[in-house]
Symmetry: C2
Subunit: 341 residues, 2 copies
């Protein structure tokens, strides 16, 4: 494969090379890459802003994450935060810290992934910063989106008796990561080795190429359902539920047997001898939507494809609990990031 050193085209050359083919799609984008700031016109809508920092060795391992997938995922995880406010992502800025290890072709591949995500989700790439790095790859993405006034959904709106709903299924991305980590260990030990991913494609896809739930936001709108609180699941169901409880000053009860889990996730937990519920509660990186709706919408929500009702909101004094298959109660705990521990 061709390898062009970044030094041969320089900073300005690199930015121009990577961004020259970008076509702006949104009427809110007046000016994208190429000035001191992007210029946006949000007229009478609200502007949403979210940001994510991804660091090599902490958030991704280039040994098993292809650069194109990394570009795609870096964009999608930000879109997910905008959908979690009931918004629509419209623009992103992308900042990269690059060591000499990366070639112009590597960055083209990364940008292909980024632009594929932007194209599928209708988002414009409007700016960024490219810089040398002494160590690995640093990716910082900020996403800007819009929402009609009064339609924005915070974490703080859940009310007692509201139903707790979740889209898709949980724990698969975490299992995908375990799978990749295992194969990496095996690979380090032997040279002639073909990874055995058959029947586990879904887990890999969920880890390497996650999607944001644009479809669920659109379905909710079509059904005329305005959730009372919403968050996306990036750190695990348990952690996100506690955010809603804390911000809404309520408690919650969810039921183990209602947590949606894919067959491949369950089979993999069995094979790895891991606790399936723990993976679903604390695995993270699912990028599904967790939201609450008034009890009166019970029938409507049951009719929605791809949404499961997993429990209900209680008084704050009742705390936050998982009711097991045997009827036992387990207190929910935040896991979150503990890489500094």
């Amino acid at each position: 494969m061709k390898r062009t050193e970044i030094a041969t085209i320089g900073e300005f050359g690199l930015i121009q090379h990577l961004t020259e083919k970008i076509e702006l799609k949104n009427s809110t984008t007046l000016k994208g890459v190429g000035d001191d700031a992007a210029v946006l016109d949000y007229k009478d809508k609200l502007t949403l802003v979210t940001t994510d920092l991804l660091l090599e060795g902490v958030h991704f391992d280039l040994m098993y994450v292809p650069l194109k997938h990394l570009g795609y995922k870096s964009a999608v995880v930000n879109f997910s935060d905008i959908y979690a406010m009931n918004g629509r992502p419209k623009q992103i800025t992308v900042s990269l810290g690059l060591s000499k290890r990366f070639s112009v072709e590597d960055l083209e591949t990364f940008y292909e992934g980024l632009q594929l995500a932007c194209s599928i989700y209708g988002v414009d790439l409007v700016g960024g910063d490219t810089s040398a790095s002494l160590t690995g790859l640093t990716i910082s993405i900020t996403c800007i989106g819009e929402v009609e006034k009064g339609k924005e959904i915070y974490r703080s709106g859940a009310k007692e008796t509201d139903l707790i709903c979740v889209s898709g299924d949980l724990g698969a991305a975490y299992m995908g990561l375990q799978l990749l980590e295992r194969e990496k260990q095996i690979y380090k030990g032997e040279a002639d080795f073909t990874p055995d991913f058959e029947g586990k494609e879904y887990l890999l896809e969920r880890q390497l190429k996650p999607e944001a739930r644009k479809d669920i936001i659109e379905s909710l709108e079509k059904a005329g359902i305005q959730p009372t609180a919403m968050i996306d699941i990036s750190d695990g169901l348990s952690s996100e539920l506690l955010h809603i409880s804390q911000e809404s000053k309520v408690g919650c009860q969810i039921y183990e047997d209602r947590i949606p889990i894919d067959f491949q996730t369950a089979a993999m937990a069995e094979e790895f001898n891991m606790n399936l519920v723990t993976a679903a509660l604390n695995g993270g990186e699912d990028y599904e939507l967790l939201f609450t709706v008034p009890l009166s919408l019970h029938e409507q929500i049951l009719e929605m494809k791809g949404v499961s009702v997993i429990g209900h909101i209680t008084k704050a004094s009742f705390g936050n609990y998982l009711i097991g298959r045997d009827g036992g109660e387990v207190k929910l705990k935040a896991q979150g990031w503990n890489s500094l521990a």
Copy 2:
């Protein structure tokens, strides 16, 4: 000094600790830190977005940059980009990658600097991301600002015969960096050493605690002057002038004897035996504003405090030149970032 390990309060604890005292100041900020995205209401104004990535060892050296100054500077360099569009900065998001080397107190100090800048410039800190890092400190800041429709100023509006203006003076931040680097080298050699910064305070201040030219933007507005093109000087006068020429499809002539240079900068260049004009043209980090105005505003612009007219815009075919004190012409060259070379 007290040292609290970040691990003792965890990710969510850290974010809460650092952001709990933040008071929102702008009517455009509906919701700041604490949800999936910040919510902003820009009504009938345009939204501006800019972003900067700062990496330890590349953009700053913690051996001589105090964390409070680093926080201040990280915010200000982003504000400068918004002013360069003739806008007003209103919100920032701050993402940090942190190694175990940093304590909670270190981050408090960094945030003090950030919040001081936000307070002086009237900006709300509305979100961010905090993450573990395997190596040094990573800082990614995105700034959002507003500008009245029709008042935004691009790099592309300069016209033939326009006057080229620059605020403040140039080259001092670069000299400040040379000074700090020299003291660092000396410090490495001997233990009992007091840095000799007397009479060089301005150079250090320009490097360690730069300001964005809010005052110039306000003066221009008060005087009713709408520049035709504008950019802030982060990579050096030469490089930024070429951006204006390229985007506006024009050429330029500037005069060596008109480039504003402070006395301390000149004295330091003498002491270091460095070329003063090179420092002023290519030094960078000045965060002054470079702009063009119609020739008809000549008298008005000469009356403005803190602004120098350094040349004029020509036809593109005339190229981009510095006219020396002796009348000789030197072609302007882009320097930009070459740390990957």
